[in-house]
């Protein structure tokens, strides 16, 4: 009986879960382990990897140039996350309070812009804010400014790009957690004499916190590794961690240093996920 069950279950299990497991081990586990390994190696004179243990790459990260970029990236990712949550929560709340039919259409409307190539959407901000662009023209014609402001390739424009690109990833998880909130709880709280702000801070906010935390993860972590926004809107003048990693594997050729920066991002990701799993299941994170 037992043998029969083994035969009946093992073969189909292998056939079905096998390919995905193999793919994940070959193209996720192994590369990740290898990049961690390389981060502890040293760099040869010609940009090759010398397989000798060293902590040089990690020491280099503490050099002022790189450390500044890390701090700047963290700050940018933090501000992006904070603003996405603050702007996104009331928006998600408004959508979640609509009738179900309307809400699903409104969510669809949030997604549609994101089927346009993200680089082209970023390029639009450049077109709008460039020296002879519509924003400067408007400000000049209206008499607010005498000469055009140069918005292009500034931290501010990069920030606009970051926030507008990340906002939907903040809205969706918060929307689904607010939508799941039971109405009867809010009514009970009101019936017991709680004011609306008391209800919000004692019921709504704590119960939707897992959704907020998913949003934090889904905005903060990608923002930390992004290089397309800085490339498109920063014009090579604004550099984040992602740009530095990309350069180490490109023209500069310092793989151990790029690997060490990648490990830094992996560690930060792991840390945030670890905190998240303390109070919610990873399967419940709304990633899609």
């Amino acid at each position: 009986m037992k043998k029969n069950k083994f035969k009946q279950n093992t073969l189909p299990a292998l056939a079905m879960a096998g390919p995905v497991s193999l793919w994940m081990i070959l193209f996720v586990t192994l590369p990740m382990l290898y990049i961690i390994y390389i981060s502890f190696m040293s760099r040869g004179i010609f940009g090759d990897v010398v397989y000798e243990f060293s902590l040089d790459s990690y020491k280099t990260l503490l050099d002022s140039t790189y450390f500044k970029v890390i701090v700047k990236s963290m700050k940018a990712a933090f501000i992006t996350t904070l603003l996405c949550i603050l702007i996104g929560y009331p928006f998600a709340y408004y959508i979640a309070k609509q009738p179900k039919e309307v809400a699903s259409k409104l969510i669809m409307l949030v997604m549609i812009p994101f089927w346009t190539n993200s680089l082209m959407r970023l390029n639009s901000w450049l077109l709008l804010f460039q020296t002879s662009g519509p924003v400067n023209n408007f400000l000049q014609n209206a008499g607010f400014i005498d000469s055009p402001i140069s918005f292009v390739y500034t931290d501010g424009l990069v920030m606009i790009g970051m926030i507008t690109n990340m906002l939907p990833f903040a809205v969706l998880p918060m929307y689904s957690s607010i939508e799941k909130l039971s109405k009867s709880l809010l009514e009970a709280s009101a019936d017991l004499g709680a004011s609306r702000s008391t209800t919000f801070f004692n019921i709504t906010l704590p119960l939707t916190f897992p959704g907020i935390f998913s949003s934090i993860i889904l905005v903060f972590i990608p923002s930390l590794g992004i290089y397309t926004v800085t490339d498109m809107l920063g014009g090579g003048k604004v550099l984040y961690i992602g740009n530095i990693i990309k350069n180490q594997f490109g023209a500069i050729r310092n793989w151990p240093l790029g690997a060490a920066l990648s490990v830094l991002l992996i560690v930060i990701t792991g840390l945030l996920i670890f905190i998240y799993t303390r109070f919610a299941k990873i399967e419940d994170m709304e990633v899609v």
Binding site: W23, M24, F27, P31, I35, S118, M120, G133, I221, I245
Partner: protein, 275 residues
């Protein structure tokens, strides 16, 4: 609080909420509308608005670099979708149905490409490919895309598998269907909506991807987004705006048709049930 005052306050709140949401939608749609507007700009490079023209919608087809990269992107996106949805569908079913050693580990691995910054995944794959001597090009980009599409496919489809499907599968096998017949006739139709959204998601993720394609392209030509990224210093030309406008229109039309078909099927099912 009197009722009329309460109602007034409600109306006020409704008004503020609606205005706020319209403002957010405006922020989300402005980049798309500006992108479309500048596809009609009568200028070789998009520096400022220089009058209306539709020339870019025909001229884009003679820009061979643009068309080649588009073709490259589409081929990769179609292949990535087919591979990811196939592996993702049977994988989601397998991971849901069977217990085996290491299952928890695989489930955790699936979240890595979704959560870890894409640049990290891309350079990790890059160093492995170079280490084992795998030539960079379409193959390496395809593997990169599948590596993030498969997890999304598995997660999407897994969410649609309901527990009570198993009794139907058993019934089908009891009635003499083999595993493959059961899979095609019973299991697959029940998870079809999940499979379709996984396919849509994989295709859009792949065709818009910049980071994987950029890192894994090697020295040869690459995808459309990589071409656009390389244009950022000299300025993106209006023919790219025209092409992107055509692409978004195709996607939106496909989406609307998909919804219409879905609704029609739902209605038919309902009438069948009542009969």
């Amino acid at each position: 609080m009197s009722i009329s005052k309460k109602r007034k306050r409600q109306r006020m709140e409704e008004f503020i909420g609606t205005t706020y949401s319209i403002a957010i939608y405006a922020i989300l749609y402005i980049p798309v509308l500006v992108m479309m507007m500048f596809s009609f700009n009568n200028q070789r490079y998009n520096y400022y608005w220089n009058g209306f023209t539709t020339q870019w919608y025909t001229k884009l087809f003679s820009n061979s670099a643009l068309i080649e990269s588009l073709w490259y992107s589409v081929v990769i996106a179609v292949l990535a979708t087919i591979i990811s949805v196939t592996i993702g569908t049977i994988g989601a079913l397998g991971l849901k149905k069977y217990e085996f050693r290491g299952k928890k580990f695989i489930n955790e691995m699936l979240y890595i490409p979704i959560i870890v910054p894409e640049i990290v995944m891309a350079v990790a794959l890059l160093v492995i490919f170079i280490k084992v001597g795998f030539a960079l090009g379409m193959g390496s980009i395809l593997i990169g895309h599948c590596t993030f599409c498969i997890p999304y496919a598995v997660v999407t489809i897994k969410g649609r598998i309901s527990g009570d499907g198993y009794s139907l599968e058993e019934a089908s096998m009891d009635l003499g269907a083999n595993r493959i017949q059961t899979f095609i006739n019973v299991t697959l139709p029940s998870i079809m909506p999940g499979v379709m959204s996984a396919a849509f998601l994989s295709f859009t993720l792949s065709i818009d991807d910049v980071v994987m394609s950029n890192m894994l392209a090697g020295a040869k030509n690459s995808t459309l987004p990589v071409l656009i990224l390389s244009m950022n210093k000299s300025g993106v030309t209006p023919d790219v705006n025209a092409l992107t406008t055509i692409m978004i229109l195709i996607i939106v039309i496909a989406m609307v048709l998909n919804n219409l078909i879905k609704n029609a099927l739902k209605k038919r099912k309902k009438t069948e049930e009542t009969i």
